[in-house]
């Protein structure tokens, strides 16, 4: 078997002797969009942080184009669930912080133009001088996306990026993500608990069982041609089949001893706001 562009090589993580997840192994091809779905506490965000270099695995490792990840790097950018914008900086300065970090040799003017390009791309023209506190959740995450895309990373790591955005805005921003990703074709790894979102966006979907001791059970290819639109998706038989398959998996996983009704409901996508990391 050849080594993938981004190889998650038998990664395990435990905290204080308790296994969060165990022996997770899969590869992501260059330009591929892979989503991981699992219950709260299955460690999917932890795995993402390991890929980002913010945490170390207890065993195994992650290899990006032949080199093991030992810490954070500009080749991987994270879009955070809680946006993680610097609240003391304006929209423009938040993105500029990233651009200057990514292109240290660029002059002031070139950096400014580049930032403006991404501000325009996410539709925040006119809001450059605002601080995050003055923006809605949706607008904040647009800044988060602009910040991540502006550095042109090899890998984008999306940590439940739409979980804190209201349902109506969520669709619009998902479409924006698709548009930007279609142009840039970064390799993407996303974690979510939203089944529809996973099917709409992904090339493949990885399913994790419940923690502790979570395991990767299967990776399902999404054989729905792009571009996909929400409207077409609803009637697509492949979409319905996938959706049922994933929901059954999640419900069965949730019905293992210890799962609560809230978690089951959350896995069905009915209570997205109640599930957090």
């Amino acid at each position: 078997m050849s080594v993938a562009f981004l190889e998650i090589d038998h990664v395990s993580k435990d905290f204080g002797g308790v296994s969060v997840f165990d022996d997770v192994a899969f590869g992501i091809a260059e330009g591929e969009f892979v989503t991981m779905i699992g219950h709260s506490g299955c460690g999917k965000s932890t795995l993402l942080n390991i890929m980002a270099g913010l945490e170390r695995p207890s065993a195994g490792g992650v290899v990006l184009s032949g080199r093991e990840i030992t810490g954070p790097g500009m080749d991987r950018m994270v879009v955070f669930q809680n946006f993680s914008l610097m609240p003391w900086m304006t929209v423009f300065d938040n993105i500029r912080l990233a651009v200057r970090a990514a292109y240290p040799d660029w002059g002031r003017r070139r950096v400014g133009e580049w930032v403006q390009r991404y501000v325009d791309m996410v539709g925040l023209t006119g809001a450059e001088a605002k601080r995050p506190a003055a923006l809605s959740g949706g607008m904040r995450q647009r800044v988060g996306l602009a910040r991540a895309f502006s550095t042109e990373p090899k890998v984008l790591l999306l940590d439940e990026p739409f979980a804190q955005i209201d349902a109506l805005t969520r669709g619009v921003i998902q479409d924006e993500l698709v548009r930007m990703w279609s142009a840039s074709r970064n390799t993407v790894f996303m974690v979510t608990h939203d089944v529809d979102e996973a099917i709409l966006l992904s090339d493949r979907i990885a399913l994790m069982t419940k923690g502790p001791g979570a395991r990767l059970t299967e990776i399902i290819p999404v054989k729905i041609p792009r571009p996909r639109t929400r409207a077409e998706l609803i009637d697509d038989p492949e979409y319905l089949r996938l959706r049922n398959h994933i929901l059954h998996f999640l419900v069965e996983a949730a019905q293992r001893p210890g799962a609560t009704e809230v978690e089951i409901a959350a896995s069905m996508g009915r209570l997205p706001s109640q599930t957090s990391k």
């Binding site: 980002a52 500009m74 994270v78 955070f80 993680s84 610097m86 003391w88 912080l97 990233a98």
Partner: protein
């Protein structure tokens, strides 16, 4: 809102007038030269002093403006140096929890010591009363800023530090663009407490060292039994204190941010 404000100002003026009235009434019965001077006498002295605030007739007779400037100069040096040291140390402690815990017991012991208690040691070691007073200011404005900075840095949300790590910011960029602005509200709160305690300490320190300064002035006027001057100096000390605090209040509003 406008009406509310007007009412507050009216009440404030009324309370002020009432206090002055009580003061005047309580001293009115005494013959001149006995008992406390009243507001009218103090106002007369104030007018004289403010007419020539910067005169200099030798070491024991200087205008109140000069004395205040001497105190403010000491305050500036001691406070600025203490603040720089406290912020630097606070950031280091805030970023290293183990060191913070190791150093914290010593801070806790040093913090409640009146800055004036150090005075004999300063006088003995540096043998210069002016610099000893500056060091007293240094000691009095060190701890609140240090404690607040360390607290502010410890409580910086990990997300911001994660972003800094992902962007691989240099330590300088990380400090200037992430750590200091994130902790700025806490740091300025510390600076504000510090300048208050420094201004309190300077008066006492100058009473001890003599020579110049508003504290020395108060003590000198007491020795001259010039109570009107003492009372006016007390009022001046209060007003300067308000101005210092207002300046830092402004800084705090500028550096404030909300999530």
């Amino acid at each position: 809102m406008g009406g509310d404000r007007l009412r507050v100002v009216c009440y404030s003026l009324l309370i002020g007038a009432a206090l002055l009235g009580i003061w005047q009434a309580s001293v009115a019965g005494h013959p001149a030269g006995k008992g406390l001077p009243g507001p009218v006498a103090v106002a007369r002295t104030a007018a004289e002093m403010l007419a020539h605030p910067f005169y200099d007739n030798g070491p024991n007779d200087k205008g109140i403006g000069l004395q205040l400037l001497a105190s403010l100069a000491r305050l500036a040096v001691g406070y600025v140096v203490a603040s720089l040291v406290a912020i630097a140390l606070g950031v280091v402690l805030g970023l290293s929890p183990a060191l913070y815990r190791a150093v914290n017991p010593y801070i806790q012991i040093l913090k409640p010591i009146s800055p004036l208690a150090w005075m004999p040691l300063f006088l003995y070691t540096i043998r210069d009363s002016g610099w000893a007073a500056v060091l007293v200011i240094f000691m009095s404005s060190l701890w609140p800023t240090l404690a607040n900075t360390a607290f502010g840095v410890v409580n910086i949300r990990r997300d911001y530090l994660h972003v800094a790590a992902i962007l691989q910011l240099s330590w300088w960029r990380r400090l200037v663009q992430v750590i200091l602005p994130a902790a700025a509200p806490a740091i300025v709160a510390g600076l504000r407490i510090s300048i208050g305690s420094a201004w309190v300490a300077i008066v006492a320190a100058e009473m001890l060292i003599g020579g110049t300064g508003i504290g020395y002035f108060v003590w000198n006027e007491w020795n001259n039994l010039a109570l009107t001057s003492v009372i006016f100096a007390i009022i001046a000390i209060g007003l300067i204190g308000v101005l210092l605090d207002a300046g830092l209040g402004r800084l705090s509003r500028r550096l404030a941010w909300s999530e």
